[in-house]
C-alpha cells in the first residue's frame, strides 16, 4: 500500500499549478525560440517540477509482514498413491522430500513455526518426512485443507503450503467458498507432469441405475488421455462381451462419447467397461470400470385426458399396448356429457372424472392432455396439475388439437407458467390439418428419447423416411429453459414441433401435432417406429416422477451413504416413523436411518464399506426394511474406491490454481520455489506487523533530476539562447 506525508490531491494541485506557470511564462514574453523549441523546454521544466513535487511529497510503501516467530506455516504434503508415480525416473514423493528439505522451504522457519502434515483421506500431523509412503487410495485435498483451516481457530495460521498433484478423489462443491472465507492464503506447489500422454484411462461411465425391459440402453463414457488418437472400448456383462466400440479421442485431455448397448434381461447386472491398453500405457489401473444396472419392470401410470375421439388417441393406445412399463389410463370425452374410460384398474377409477385431490392425482406418474380446453378444468385441478409436475416430479405432455394448446386457452391458464412455450392466444387459429415432414434438431439427435435405432447411422435414415404428420399447431416462442427436440418445415421455415423444459422436480413437453398416427398407417405393419417413439417419449416423461419412498445410494471414499425420502399419500414429507435398510454383497449390514434435522421426511445413514465390489441395498419404512413381499426401494452400486486415486496421473494444475486464487495464495512450479519466501511472508493473515519502506530517497530519482536540468541547459546552448 502506498503512503505519503501529505495528501495526493495537494501534490497534484501543486504540480499542475507549477506547470501552468512555466507554460504561461514561456509563451507570454517574446522569445527567440520557435514554438517547438519552447515546447521542448516547457516539457523538461514541467518534468523537473513534477519530480521535485514527488520528492517533497515523500511517498513510501506500507507492507504487512508476518511477525517472525509468532505464526505457523502448515506444510501439507499429498501422501496418496498417485504421488508414488514416477516422473522423469523419480517418484513424486521423493521429489517432494527434497523440496521440503531445500533451503527455500526450510528457510521459512525464520518467519514461521513450521508444522508438517500429510493427507490422503484426511490431514494428519507428522513429525518428519520419513512417515510419507504414497500408498493410500484417496486424495481428499479440499476436505483436508478445510480440516487445517478449522485448526487455525486455536493457533495463528499464517499460510498453508501444499505439495500435491492436485487430483482430488472426494471434491466438495462448496469447498472453495469455504476456504476463501478463512482468509488464510493457500500456496500450492504443483507436482508431476501436467500431461501424461502415454496414459489413456476411463474417468467415468454414466448409466441409468434402472431401466424397464424394452428400453434403450445408452452409457456415457468419459476418457482421460494425453492427446488425439483412437481408443477401443469393450463392454462385458458378467464376463461376456456384449459390445466393442472405437472412440475417437480429441485434442484435449478428456473425451466423452455415447455407447449404445443391448439391454440385458431382467435383474441386476455388472457391466464392465474396459480399454484395450496401448504398448506405452503406464497406468493400467484406470483401464477398467464396473457399473451396476438393474433391469426391472417398473410400471409407470400415465393419465391421458382427451376432449374428443380422434385417431391419435387410438394409435397412441395401440403403440403402448405391449409395453409393460407404461400403464395408460384414459379419460375420453365422447359426447358433451359422456366420458369413456379405458385402462382403469377398477370400476371406481376416474368415475368422477379428472381427479380433484392430490392423493388421487399423485398416483399417476405422467399426465397427457389432448384436445380439451383449459376451461374444462377447475382452478383447483389446474393447480393440482402444476403441483403434480413441480412437487411430485411428474411429467406433463400437451398434445395439439382444435381445442388443445393455444386454441384451448392453455396459454392464458393457471398452467401457462409450466408450459415450455409462450402459446398463441385462443382466438388465433393455430391448429391446421396440413401435412409436414418432421426432423430432429441438433439437441434431438443427441437425445436418447428420439433414438429409433442402435445401428450406426441408422437413426438418421429412419427419421428422414418417416411419413408426414397429419397436422401441426403453432407453439409460439420457446421459454429460456426450454429445449427443442423436433421441428417441422412449414413453408420452408423450421418451426418447433416438440419442446420440453424442466418444471420444479418434473418436466413438461409440448408436442405440436396430433398426427403421428400417419406413421403407423403409412408404414408396414412390421415397422415399429411409431411404437418406439411413443414408448420412449412416455418413459422419458415419467422418468423423474418420484415414488412415496425414494432411496439414493452413493459412496464417498470408503463410506456408503444412504438417503431416503418418505412421503405420505398426498406427497407431503412424512417426518415420523422409521426407515431401515439391509445391505448385502461385499458389505453386509443392517442399519436404521436417522432423520435429518431441518429436512422433514429425509433419513440418512453412513456405513463403512468392507471393500470393493457389488453392493445391494433394500430399504423401506418399518422394522426390517422389507415388507412381506417387496422392499419399498432397492438400489445397487459397484464400489471401486481404490480406482479413483488412479483415474488420472496428470497434475491438476487448474484445481491447484483455483484453490490458491480463492484463498489469496499463489501457485508455484517447483522451479519457482525461490519466490516462496517473499510471497508467503507478505500476508495479512495471522499475526502481522506493518513495515514502511520509503521510496522518495531513491538515488535514481536524484539522478533523473540532474539529467533533466542538464538536458535543458544543453538545448539552450545549442539554440544559442544562453
Amino acid at each position: 500500500m502506498l503512503a505519503a506525508n501529505w495528501p495526493i490531491p495537494l501534490a497534484v494541485a501543486a504540480a499542475l499549478g507549477g506547470a501552468l506557470l512555466i507554460v504561461v511564462g514561456l509563451w507570454r514574453r517574446a522569445h527567440p525560440l520557435s514554438p517547438v523549441q519552447r515546447g521542448a523546454i516547457a516539457a523538461l521544466q514541467v518534468a523537473m517540477l513534477v519530480l521535485v513535487v514527488i520528492l517533497l511529497w515523500q511517498p513510501s510503501l506500507s507492507i504487512d509482514r508476518v511477525t517472525p516467530g509468532t505464526n505457523t506455516l502448515a506444510i501439507l504434503v499429498d501422501d496418496s498413491a498417485s504421488m508414488g508415480f514416477s516422473d522423469h525416473g523419480k517418484r513424486r514423493i521423493d521429489q517432494v522430500r527434497e523440496w521440503v528439505e531445500s533451503s527455500e522451504v526450510s528457510g521459512l522457519s525464520d518467519h514461521f513455526t513450521i508444522e508438517l502434515f500429510r493427507f490422503s483421506d484426511d490431514a494428519q500431523a507428522v513429525s518428519d518426512l520419513s512417515e510419507l509412503r504414497a500408498e493410500d487410495d484417496a486424495s481428499a485435498l479440499q476436505s483436508s485443507l478445510q480440516q487445517l483451516m478449522r485448526r487455525s481457530a486455536s493457533n495463528a495460521l499464517g499460510a498453508v503450503l501444499v505439495f500435491s498433484d492436485g487430483q482430488d478423489t472426494a471434491p466438495i462443491s462448496s469447498a472453495l467458498a469455504d476456504l476463501s472465507s478463512w482468509q488464510i492464503p493457500v500456496h500450492t506447489v504443483g507436482i508431476g507432469r501436467e500431461q501424461v500422454p502415454e496414459d489413456v484411462g476411463i474417468a467415468d461411465v454414466q448409466l441409468p441405475p434402472s431401466l424397464s425391459p424394452g428400453s434403450q440402453l445408452r452409457a456415457r463414457i468419459t476418457l482421460v488421455h494425453g492427446g488425439a488418437g483412437l481408443a477401443r472400448v469393450t463392454v462385458s456383462q458378467s464376463g461376456q462381451l456384449i459390445a466393442v466400440e472405437e472412440v475417437p479421442l480429441g485434442a484435449g485431455s478428456r473425451t466423452s462419447a455415447w455407447l449404445d448397448l443391448p439391454l440385458p434381461d431382467t435383474g441386476y447386472h455388472e457391466l464392465t467397461f474396459a480399454l484395450e491398453p496401448s504398448a506405452t500405457d503406464s497406468n493400467l489401473a484406470n483401464n477398467a470400470l464396473t457399473r451396476m444396472l438393474e433391469v426391472a419392470p417398473r410400471a409407470r401410470r400415465v393419465l391421458y385426458v382427451e376432449g374428443e375421439p380422434r385417431w391419435e388417441y387410438k394409435f397412441l393406445r395401440r403403440a403402448l399396448r405391449d409395453d409393460p412399463s407404461i400403464e395408460l389410463v384414459t379419460l375420453l370425452r365422447v359426447s358433451p356429457n359422456k366420458y369413456y374410460r379405458q385402462g382403469i384398474s377398477d370400476a371406481a377409477e376416474l368415475e368422477a372424472g379428472f381427479p380433484t385431490d392430490r392423493e388421487t392425482l399423485f398416483q399417476y406418474h405422467g399426465i397427457i392432455i389432448g384436445s380439451i380446453e383449459a376451461a374444462s378444468f377447475t382452478d383447483n385441478q389446474l393447480n393440482l396439475i402444476s403441483d403434480f409436475v413441480a412437487e411430485r416430479g411428474g411429467g406433463l405432455l400437451m398434445l395439439a388439437g382444435r381445442s388443445g394448446l393455444g386454441q384451448g386457452g392453455w396459454g392464458n391458464s393457471l398452467l401457462a407458467g409450466a408450459l415450455p412455450t409462450e402459446l398463441p392466444p385462443a382466438q388465433r387459429e393455430s391448429f391446421a390439418r396440413q401435412r409436414w415432414p418432421v426432423q430432429r434438431t441438433a439437441e434431438g439427435e443427441q437425445s436418447s428419447v428420439l433414438r429409433l435405432s442402435n445401428a450406426p447411422g441408422g437413426d438418421s435414415t429412419l427419421w428422414q423416411t418417416l411419413p408426414e404428420l397429419a397436422d401441426y399447431q403453432e407453439l409460439g416462442a420457446l421459454k429460456p429453459a426450454a429445449t427443442q427436440l423436433l421441428s417441422v418445415k412449414v413453408n420452408g421455415a423450421a418451426q418447433p414441433l416438440m419442446v420440453r423444459q424442466p418444471y420444479g422436480r418434473g418436466r413438461t413437453i409440448a408436442l405440436a401435432t396430433s398426427g403421428t398416427w400417419r406413421w403407423q398407417m403409412s408404414l408396414p405393419v412390421e415397422d415399429q417406429r411409431h411404437e418406439t417413439f411413443w414408448r420412449q417419449l412416455l418413459r422419458s416423461l415419467t422418468s423423474e416422477a418420484r415414488d412415496a419412498f425414494e432411496l439414493d445410494v452413493s459412496t464417498e471414499g470408503s463410506t456408503l451413504n444412504l438417503r431416503a425420502e418418505v412421503r405420505d399419500a398426498s406427497f407431503q414429507p412424512r417426518a415420523t416413523g422409521t426407515v431401515n435398510a439391509t445391505i448385502s454383497g461385499t458389505t453386509v449390514s443392517q442399519v436404521t436411518l436417522s432423520p435429518v434435522v431441518g429436512e422433514a421426511g429425509v433419513f440418512t445413514a453412513q456405513i463403512p464399506l468392507a471393500g470393493d465390489g457389488a453392493h445391494f441395498v433394500e430399504a423401506g419404512p418399518g422394522p426390517t426394511g422389507k415388507s412381506s413381499d417387496e422392499p419399498a426401494a432397492r438400489a445397487a452400486l459397484f464400489h471401486a474406491g481404490k480406482r479413483l486415486e488412479r483415474v488420472s496421473l496428470a497434475q491438476n494444475r487448474a484445481g491447484l490454481t483455483a484453490i490458491s486464487n480463492a484463498t489469496g495464495g499463489r501457485y508455484f512450479m517447483p522451479n519457482e520455489l525461490s519466490e516462496l519466501s517473499q510471497a508467503i511472508t507478505s500476508t495479512s493473515a495471522g499475526i502481522t506487523e506493518t513495515q514502511i519502506l520509503p521510496v522518495w530517497d531513491a538515488p535514481l530519482l536524484l539522478l533523473l533530476l540532474v539529467l533533466l536540468k542538464t538536458t535543458e541547459w544543453l538545448l539552450r546552448r545549442r539554440w544559442t539562447v544562453i
Binding site: 375421439p309 369413456y340 390439418r433 398407417m521
Partner: protein, 263 residues
C-alpha cells in the same frame, strides 16, 4: 304399292340398330370410374370413406358395376349429421370415395363398403386391405343377404385373410358398448323388403353381426350380414321407414365408429 325393303337395306338397318344399341350402352357413364375423388386433406378428424370396388355380380343379365354406390350419398350425409350431433367427433359432413388399389386408403382409418356380396378384389387390393386392417384400420361392411351373397363375400375375404376366422361378435364385445349399450339384435331391413312386408332378402332370414379380429382381440372388420344399415341411414327422413330402425342403425354405426377411434 309398298315395296319390300331389300336385303341390303335390312342389313344396313340391322347394323345401324346394333350401333345405336352399343352406343347407348357406352354413353351411359361408368359409375366405377366417374365419381372417384382425388385425394384431399379434409379439414376434419373423421371422414366417412366409402370403398368403390369392381364386381362380378350380374343383375338383370348385366354386370352390376355400381353396387358400391348403393345408398350414396344420402346414407353418409344423414349418418354424419347424427355423428356430429350426438358425439364429439369432428366429422366431415360429406364423406369421400376411394378404391383399394391406391395407398390413399391408409389416410382413412375407417372404411365403409356396401353390397359386398358381389365385391371382387384382385390380389393387390386384397393385400392392401389386409395390410390396412393389420396396421389399425377398420372396415364396416353392410347390406348383403342370403347364402349366395355370403359365399361371394367370403370368396373375396379369403384372399384378404386366408387363415383368420370369421366369428360372431359376442354381446359383451366393447364394440357394442363403447357409446351405446346395444342389447337389441333387431334385423334392420332395406326399404324394398319392408314395402313387401318383410325384413329379409333372398334367404337371409336371420341377421348376423360377425367380425374378423386381429391377434390382440381387436375387431378389424365388422360384418353386418342380412341387414341394411345404409338404407336405414339413407331413409332417415322418409316417413315410411320406421324411426326405431333408423335410430338403431345410427347407434350401431356410431358404436362402430367410436370403437374404431378407441381401439
Amino acid at each position: 304399292m309398298t315395296q319390300k325393303p331389300s336385303a341390303t337395306t335390312l342389313l344396313y338397318s340391322a347394323i345401324a340398330l346394333l350401333c345405336a344399341l352399343l352406343s347407348s350402352q357406352s354413353s351411359r357413364a361408368d359409375p366405377d370410374a366417374a365419381p372417384i375423388q382425388p385425394p384431399v386433406t379434409a379439414d376434419a378428424e373423421f371422414v366417412f370413406a366409402r370403398v368403390a370396388f369392381t364386381t362380378n355380380q350380374m343383375r338383370g343379365g348385366r354386370r352390376a358395376s355400381s353396387l358400391w354406390r348403393t345408398d350414396y350419398p344420402d346414407a353418409e350425409h344423414h349418418f354424419l349429421s347424427g355423428v356430429r350431433r350426438l358425439t364429439r367427433v369432428d366429422a366431415d359432413p360429406d364423406g369421400h370415395i376411394l378404391t383399394l388399389n391406391s395407398d390413399e386408403v391408409f389416410d382413412y382409418p375407417w372404411l365403409y363398403a356396401v353390397e359386398v356380396g358381389g365385391w371382387h378384389l384382385d390380389i393387390d387390393e386384397a393385400r392392401r386391405l389386409r395390410e390396412y386392417l393389420l396396421r389399425g384400420g377398420f372396415l364396416m361392411v353392410d347390406d348383403f343377404h342370403g347364402s349366395l351373397e355370403w359365399a361371394g363375400f367370403m370368396s373375396t375375404l379369403s384372399r384378404v385373410f386366408p387363415d383368420r376366422p370369421v366369428k360372431d361378435i359376442p354381446d359383451s364385445d366393447p364394440a357394442f358398448h363403447v357409446f351405446y349399450d346395444l342389447d337389441q339384435r333387431t334385423q334392420i331391413p332395406g326399404i324394398m323388403p319392408l314395402r313387401g312386408g318383410r325384413t329379409w332378402e333372398r334367404d337371409g332370414f336371420e341377421p348376423h353381426w360377425r367380425g374378423v379380429y386381429d391377434d390382440d382381440g381387436r375387431l378389424m372388420l365388422a360384418i353386418n350380414f342380412n341387414m341394411d344399415m345404409g338404407d336405414a341411414w339413407e331413409h332417415a327422413d322418409w316417413p315410411e321407414y320406421p324411426e326405431p330402425l333408423t335410430a338403431l342403425a345410427y347407434r350401431f354405426g356410431i358404436n362402430y365408429l367410436m370403437y374404431a377411434m378407441t381401439h
